[in-house]
Symmetry: C2
Subunit: 245 residues, 2 copies
């Protein structure tokens, strides 16, 4: 049987980049389905059948949906063991997973505060109350519903920005400490940890440009990771990330 | 070489139960080190060398520290493959990991709002400002620092409770949906998913007793999971969870 891989994604958003990057790094061909968050296509009933959380990305492998970018990436590396992206040594693998967890639990919520303010707030403020209420009602996750409401009203609080900025410091500091051993976050091997953290360092350096020069090992790692062909193919705008209307 | 396993944990707290439970379910003997959160022993410099986040639990395996309960449990199942707690089928394993992620990312933050209010607020309010400021300064994670400050001041906000309660609904709903296939969260096999979600259903049912009767498959799963000998040994108070002073 020929494997058929399909990825539903939102192009250059952080979690979508994680799974697109993993697929490209492993050289796995896939059918790309762009999901427009601005048009709320992630709330379409057909999409919610694949991903009841209304989040991107979703992998569909021979008809079976796999959700959550971190879970998708470990799944891909298990099912397609060529060009491995996980260390075989269990200690290095645990170290890799700590960074993957940090990306999802610690970095992603920190990214949303400035990014949603920049990319979503104007649109939400311009929406009619009826359209906005419909979008909120169709949002499966309570934390996302509350974030949309905060953005429409006053924006995120000072405390939410303080926490987001503190989390950015934390992620940079942890990368810098790990890269003292290096050359990659989990040690000798380029792994899912590098793929998971990269979109956040990419985003944080725009919000907090001072963090890069104060973390020179992380800056060097970032330059090396960004120079890889699979990274370029993932991070540069393309037909896949900005499909024709 | 004989394996030496040591677990630093806080007894009956949610993440500590997760790793104690995994060790007991696999029948792995370990040396137990109780870390008193009330005495801020998780801020001791010696402990912070093992776990720079100042969180429990930490596994030490032949001298190497592994942090994060979810990472610890996958590590244990990889290094000690007897009595496996992960499915071999990659789709079932992905389903397991979605629940493990849900436990860490979605359930744990929801638990902290009512639990910290109940277990920590009185102590924090009674602390002198100098002792409190020292405890906050020694807390490695910014989100924990902000939570401690909120508790000392006014307690958590209405919005924080609303989000926590919404997350509890979500976790119950996702369990109920998965258990329609059952009998366990990832399918036929009792896995790390059941171990990861159990302490949260255990905690949520105390805060939201109405959720159990409205989720009968989850209630049945809970009764079956709680009846297992390893669960009883983990969840019942013992010398390990309440060491003599």
């Amino acid at each position: 049987m020929t494997d058929v891989l399909e990825l539903y994604h939102a192009g250059l958003t952080t979690c979508s980049k994680k799974s697109r990057h993993c697929l490209k790094e492993k050289g796995l061909p896939y059918k790309s389905h762009f999901v427009s968050l601005g048009k709320f296509e992630h709330h379409d009933p057909a999409y919610l059948k694949l991903n009841p959380n209304g989040l991107v990305p979703t992998l569909v492998h021979n008809g079976t949906a796999i959700v959550e970018s971190g879970v998708i990436n470990e799944y891909l590396d298990e099912v397609f063991p060529d060009k491995p992206l996980r260390p075989t040594d269990p200690v290095a693998r645990a170290r890799m997973r700590v960074f993957c967890k940090m990306a999802d639990e610690y970095a992603l919520p920190a990214t949303r505060i400035p990014t949603w303010t920049r990319t979503k707030q104007a649109q939400l403020k311009e929406m009619s109350q009826a359209d906005f209420d419909k979008a909120v009602a169709e949002t499966p996750l309570v934390d996302h519903r509350l974030k949309l409401q905060a953005l429409k009203r006053d924006g995120f609080s000072k405390k939410e920005f303080e926490e987001a900025y503190g989390r950015m410091d934390y992620v940079f500091d942890r990368c810098e400490a790990a890269l003292a051993a290096g050359p990659w976050l989990a040690g000798d091997m380029y792994t899912l940890a590098d793929i998971a953290i990269l979109p956040y360092i990419f985003a944080f350096r725009e919000v907090r440009p001072e963090l890069m020069p104060s973390h020179p090992k992380t800056a060097d790692w970032f330059a090396r990771a960004m120079a890889r062909p699979a990274t370029k193919a993932t991070y540069e705008p393309s037909e896949e990330t900005r499909p024709a209307a």
